[in-house]
Symmetry: C2
Subunit: 183 residues, 2 copies
């Protein structure tokens, strides 16, 4: 059985979306997906708000409020029938997130055993056939095949097979076309 | 540069020793290493105390009090000059330990970058050339060469190259005999 490792933020979890919601609520400034195209969060948030936004990630409750990415639950459940599925998240960058990330996964993806959750830093440590990730640096270091999950900041990247959605993940790994299943 | 993954409990951290100290303090019962020979903690602790001892692991402060294994700091520091060193600990079994384990590593092994710390469950996910671990189940699933670090419960195991101490680790990986360095 082949093994797929899945990144959490921006792949399973709409972390940036949650940030933008908080930012709108705090400053009444709406940042659209169009504005993020080809850019990182820090490129579009006003520099005088950087510290404020950075503080979001220091709050444990921040992670509990993050929405799941559309389709991720259904497709991940299907993938577990045909692949070994591991979650690999770069949690070491935000140590205050450990418990909240673990609880979030338990709540939204209870069918993934805790033994298949990995908190790491450098994803070159992940032994898997595939890594689905939005982060180009992590994909570059990974030893298997990196599959890039589209996020606004990575749209210019050409080195990896690309999936734009969980429907694309389903089509790529389960050979099921999105339009067949969702006529 | 080859990569070595190192288990934490019973290899870097004297977790069982800390348990036995607490047990002695709570019940005035001394359990010696001889009594543990070839057995697990649960084989030597009276069954009416199992819940009490199990509760040790549910307390976050338990992990802060654990001693480091003799020689581990010096040898690990030396290993980082010639190998990529990662710490791989099965923290998912004890989610309350995340922060305490991270802080313990930061305090005692500050020369290991946080990007090289991995909290996992099943160590078959670890991509490394070697895994030094006391746990036979984890060593069996690991894809590289497993090196067994002697602990009372694993003394009967014959399938892996064995190290009895950090001096043995130094000799095996750095080709330096213990007696030469510590005349």
């Amino acid at each position: 059985m082949k093994r797929i490792a899945i990144d959490m933020d921006e792949v399973m979890a709409d972390t940036v979306g949650h940030c933008l919601n908080l930012y709108k609520s705090d400053f009444d400034i709406t940042l659209s997906p169009d504005q993020l195209h080809g850019r990182r969060l820090w490129d579009v948030v006003a520099s005088e708000h950087w510290d404020h936004v950075r503080d979001y990630f220091e709050r444990e409750e921040f992670f509990a409020g993050i929405s799941i990415m559309p389709g991720s639950q259904d497709v991940l459940r299907e993938l577990t029938n045909e692949y070994e599925v591991f979650v690999a998240t770069a949690a070491m960058e935000v140590p205050c997130s450990f418990s909240a990330k673990f609880e979030w996964l338990q709540r939204h993806f209870p069918f993934i055993p805790t033994s298949h959750i990995v908190f790491c830093g450098d994803k070159s440590i992940i032994a898997a056939d595939y890594l689905i990730d939005d982060n180009v640096r992590q994909l570059s270091r990974f030893g298997g095949e990196g599959i890039i999950f589209t996020a606004p900041h990575n749209v210019g990247e050409q080195r990896f097979r690309r999936v734009n959605s969980w429907e694309d993940v389903r089509a790529l790994f389960l050979g099921v076309e999105a339009q067949t299943r969702n006529p």
